[in-house]
Each structure stands twice: as C-alpha cells, then as structure tokens.
Point group: C2
Chain length 447, copies 2
Amino acid sequence: MARPQRLSGFPEWLPEGQVVQQFIEDAARRVFELHGFGGIETRAVEPLEQMLRKGEIDKEVYVLRRLHADERDADAGLGLHFDLTVPFARYVLEHAGHLEFPFKRYQIQKVWRGERPQEGRFREFTQADIDVVGRDVLPFQYEVEMAVTMAALLAELPIPPAVIQVSNRKLAEGFYRGVGATNPASVLRAVDKLDKIGIEATKRLLEEDAGLTQEAADACLSLAAIRTPDSSFVDRVRSLGVSDPLLDEGLIELAAVVDGANLLRPGSVVADLRIARGLDYYTGTVYETELVGYESVGSIASGGRYDSLASDGKQTYPGVGISLGVTRLVSVLLGRDLVRVTRPVPTVVLVAVLDDDSRPSSEQVAATLRSRGISCEVAPSADKFGKQIKYADRRGIPFVWFPDGGGHSVKDIRSGAQAPADAEDWRPPEEDLVPRVLTTTSQEAQP
Amino acid sequence: MARPQRLSGFPEWLPEGQVVQQFIEDAARRVFELHGFGGIETRAVEPLEQMLRKGEIDKEVYVLRRLHADERDADAGLGLHFDLTVPFARYVLEHAGHLEFPFKRYQIQKVWRGERPQEGRFREFTQADIDVVGRDVLPFQYEVEMAVTMAALLAELPIPPAVIQVSNRKLAEGFYRGVGATNPASVLRAVDKLDKIGIEATKRLLEEDAGLTQEAADACLSLAAIRTPDSSFVDRVRSLGVSDPLLDEGLIELAAVVDGANLLRPGSVVADLRIARGLDYYTGTVYETELVGYESVGSIASGGRYDSLASDGKQTYPGVGISLGVTRLVSVLLGRDLVRVTRPVPTVVLVAVLDDDSRPSSEQVAATLRSRGISCEVAPSADKFGKQIKYADRRGIPFVWFPDGGGHSVKDIRSGAQAPADAEDWRPPEEDLVPRVLTTTSQEAQP
C-alpha cells in the first residue's frame, strides 16, 4: 500500500510528543486525585437525542452505523460524544442509585467534533475534566474549588503563564434584564461573538437581533469590557447604574469565586465579564483560560456551573465542572517549540549480549534492574559490541551494560565513561531515570 | 428526561470498577515501560479500505458520518478502529521517516466492534498492546520477548492463574502442506472453529471445505490435540510422520519461544497446536491466553508475528505483538466477584470546617497534606461536625481532620480513634494512602 495520508483534524504525536501528552495527563490525574476527585470513564457513544438536547452543536456530531447494519439495528441513533459533560450527566442519572453525593469525578478521554480543523481546533481531541454533582443541592463552595484545582494543575505544567477568566451567567442575565432585554440568551450569544467579530458588529447584533436600544447595547458592551484581578469589578458594574436581583446574586457569587481562588492561589484568577461560553447549559459561574502570549489558540480550560443538565423529573443533579483541553495544549507546546523531551524511549539501559549461549545471564541482569524500577532492554542479537552500542545510540538509550566474563560494567554512551557495575545496586543519575519534559528555556517541568 | 437505558455491549464501571481498570492499566504501563516499550496513541478512526484489507471482520466495523455531512465530505469512508494493530501498522508507515527501528511501542486505547454482545465480548472495549516492528528485518528474539513481557504483567495482576498458549503459523501451514492440503488457509479456518463446533464437525469441514483426505484430516486433528508445557511437542509432531521444510522451521521457532519464555518465567507458557487465531495477517508465532477456571470468557491476551501488515511497496515492516483485553479482564474480575476495592474515592482525609471565617485555615491544612502526597478534601459547608463526619462516612473517606482552635486532631471514623496531629508530619497507615484492589481471598494485589 502507498504511504498513508495524514487526516486533517485527527492529530497524532511522535513518541516524543506522546511523552508530553502523558506528562500532562499524569499531572492532571495526580492533582485531581489529591483534591479528592475519583476517575471514571464513560462510553464513547451517546444516543443522538441525548446529545442534541443542549447546546448549538448538532451539526458537529459524528453519527455511527455498522457497516452491514440491518433495519432493526439497536445501534441506530448513536453518535460519538462531543464533550465529557453531557455523558457525565447521563452517567449520573443512569447510576444515581449507586453513587454517593456530592459526587466528584475526573475523566480523561477523547471527544469528537466534526468541525473545520484549524490551530487549536481538532476533530478528535483529549479532554481532562473535573466535575462535582450534588443531589438537588450543590454547595456554592465547589465553584471556588473548580478554579483552585485547575490553577493547581496549571501551575505544575510546562506551559506559559495561564490566567483563569471567570464570569457569571446570573450576573450577565440579570444585567441584560436590567437594561430591558426581553431575550437575555440572544444578548449572550451576541456578546459571545465579541472576540471574533469586534465591537461594532456586536453592537449591531445587540440592536438588531437582540432588540436592544442603543443605550442598552452600549451598557452591555461596557459590562463586557470590565476585567479586574479582584472583586473591584463589583463597583465598576454598579457604576453602570443597572439594578436587578439576579445581577446582585451574580455579583456576590463572582466576587466570592475571584477572592476565594486568589486567596489560595494568588493571581490565578481574574474576573472578566466578556466571558460568555457558547453552550447554553451553564447557569452560574463560567470559566475560560487564556495562555498568555498564545491567546489566539483559544481557551485551554473552560467550564461552568449547570443546574439542570441532569434531571430525571423527580430529582435534579446540579453540577459544576472545568475541562482542560489536553490536545490543544500539547499542540501549542509542540507546534511552538515550547518544550523538548530528553529522550523518546523509556529505556535507560541496553543490556548487551556476548553470545547466544550467555543470553540468559543478560536477561538476569535486566530482570534485576527492572525489579529495581530501571527500564531496560536486552539486545535482540549477539552482534559485535560496537553494533550493539550503535543500536542503543540510534534509539536514544543512554547506557549500555556489558555482562563480561571478568565483571560487569556500564557505559554512558554520551560521554564514553565506563565503570564497573553491579545490577543489585547500580542506579542511573536521577535525571536519566525516565524521559523528562523540559521547557525550551531549559527549566524542567516539576514531576 | 427519563432515566437513561444502559447500552448493551458498551460497559461502564462504577467508581470501584474504575479503580480496578486503572490498576490494570497502570500495571500494564509500568511493566511495558520497564521492558523498553514507549507509549503512543493513534486516532480512533481509519479509512475503511485500510481496515478491510486484512482480516474477516468487515461486518463488525462502525462507519462514521457527520450529522450534516455534505456530498464532498472529507470524512466519508472513515470507520472506528477494531483493534490497535492495523492502526499501528498504518502509523509506522505514515511516520517511518521519524521513527527508529526496531520500534517498540505500547498502546492502551479503546476499540470498537459491532458484534453481538455476550460475556467477555463487547462493542466498545479497552486493549493494552505491545508490538515491536523492524524495518525489513525483525530479530526472532522479540517473539520470545512478547510472551515474557506479557507473563511479567499477568504475574502482577489480581487474577486467577493465566497460561499463555503458543503456536506457530509456519508449523501449522507446513504440516497442512505436508499432508497434501492445497489451501492451508481453509484448513486453518476449520481448525480455528474446533473449540466452538467440536471434533466431528471440524473433521467434516476439513474434508468437505478444505478438501482433505480422511487420513489427512485425522492428522490435522491429531496435531491440534498436542499441548505440552515444554518443547516435547516436537517429538510428538514428528511421530505423526509428516515432513515439510516450513514445518521444520515452525518447530524450531515454537520450541525456542516455549523454552525461552519458560526459562525466564517458569510455567508461564505452553505449546498448544490448537491455537490458530482468526485474523489472517499472522505469519509466525501466535499467542492466546487462558484464564484457568474461566476459559469460557475467551482469550485475555492474544497476538502474533506478522510479516507483511505494513509495507509501502519499497520497504516492509515485519512485527510481532500481543494485546491484553483490559475490559474483558475487568468484566470477569467484577462479574465473578474476584476482587474488591478498599474505597471508591481517592480522598484519605476530609478536613472539617469550623465556621466560614476559618475556612482558609482548613484550606491551609489541605494544601500541606496534598504537598505531601495525601489526597484530601475540605468540607463544602461549615455544618456541625457530626454532619461533616457523616459526609465523610457516606462517601467512604476514612479520616476526618479537625482544625480546632486548641490544636489539630485527626479521627479514624472507622474505629473512632482520635489523636492530635500536625499536617506537616501526619501520615495515614500505608494501606489507607490510596484505594487498593484486593482479591476476594484477601490477598492484596501487588502494586
């Protein structure tokens, strides 16, 4: 067969890139578990009617059918999930009788969207989500915890500075009502386009589509321009002279999130009233995250509070969550050369083989090293040592072990230094034990 | 919405089940990396023509289309991968210029098959694969290494005894030729059905479909009955009086795999000449793995040598691999109650909150514990302590931390024992640090 074509929008990394992706997934899992989130996985498919209930993304869903499906196929009407929030809400409803609430979970999986691929936007990508869902009630404190947990994770990653931008749907909706909007959702949709289409076009949308007066449209644009590193946004909103009970509630909540998060993680969060989030299931706090200097790739961690995503008619399961865009982040780190990896293979040592008869003793050395947590391989053929060293060099393995008759020795093939060694107590330098991710400013990512 | 229906063939675990699956995936990754396999991921989709080139499973593939696809859609003709070997072969061809050979990789991902669900057979399931691929040549030694690496992994899992059964396509094909078969593939297909349809029906297939004489059919069935824990199968095959150069080659290879693997991992491998493997891309050693006492669920780890799966016309990339059926294994462990999990949440300690004003000092305790690798949560509300203890108890969190004015203390809510504690040096008992997987005979799985 001919060399296969790359599929646009379906990224795959070389082994070095996978080391970076694995580093991020490991960090996410470690930080999430330290904060009390347990892992689950949901199936990749959901009934279409379930997925299309919420959001404006029906055109982006991939539908499945079996190649030789017959008419009565039970798989008909299934699609690949486009996020991990809708499947999680379904999981909670399906398994509610077996779960304890509030239920805190993390989930690191691929999702699919049939969108036009561009930088930072893929058809298949990995997300790392945390959510907390309560039964009927969910303490507000979790809206602070989402920002704090994500900030803790971002601080461990080999990335440029990141800022979590927070707003609040109640604040926005209350304000829009306060200026006389009869359809706050259409105002939100217009404001959501601000970054893309600019102030003038947004103003036109606000007046023509959302039916606002010129004055009301100006007030909404003034609201969207407010961005503060603390709760001083409250006074700036108040100075716009709009009042509404829902606006008051939103102001109090947003101030609590910004101040609460910055108390624990100073500088991690800003209030940014431009943040709207496209998906219409959010009902309170909403989050987006900017990678400073790389804003054009879009948000790398987003989410919000949702009160009615999961409900079985008798009970509702309000939740709040935030999702790290793992693939987007890896693609920026690799695409902009922001990181490098010390080697592409886990192997620290190639154990050489003197001749076919002595292979078992080489295998014994390898078994001992592995039992001590040192990754190694035994040379596949008893070639001349020079050829075995070249094999290690070519594959990026830093050490070669020689199990000679006279006594074992190990050679660092980068420096050429060779020294006697015993498999029971030899250790590589700590920085060689596993492949590491370094930022290109040479500062090592903290494992 | 009404409570969602479970989808047959798309298993999902409760949090306890996910702890088991994660344990297996972590063990696989650790063992694979210690043996020098690096991780990669491939996209979930492949062009249909690529997938249908090999194997007899075209009817089982899920085809994708975008919900609002137009005629010229670039996604047309994509399906979900049904294994990780075919995508890996495509990855090798696509990225060959950037890889070093032999290329050793592991891959832990979901795959999809539109099969009729039954015990141990799913429509969506996770596999953990290792493969080694060479450029033009691949040393035979890797066929031993596959069995040894998988045996090392199986020995670390909380499962009943497992035996890797090995056979060899050259041995079988040479033998079939030696008895006069003109179409060895049809003989192989008949023998592959032996377990399912029995000796008599297989014999009919051999005579009628494969065109063997009665004597030749008997010889093939005698071959399939040979199973030995060592290389004594060679004499038993020889005693059947068939000779062929390819048979000789296969006998030597199979003896080398069985003896080589059992030298390093005594008792892990048997020669079993009944093993055929359905997929037609195998060309040498083939592996299947029986869970002793649970044979009916099918093989839990399978694979083999393939010489021409990946070829771009100029170069071929022969490989050998073996794949652990993670979902199948988890479903047996959970479905037959072979394991239990010590708790469903990662959290060791709930840090109580005295009142809203003192929340920051509770958060400080939590931050200190987390920096020392201890998973904890801060209570979401400053309820009465009794209510906070119930919150921990209900969710399975074993310890509650009280940051009282007079001095901190920690309570084991299982025993009721309470003692003064300092977040800088308190540690839970080692067995409480993370959720553990225990076999139901109470023997702990080795982490």
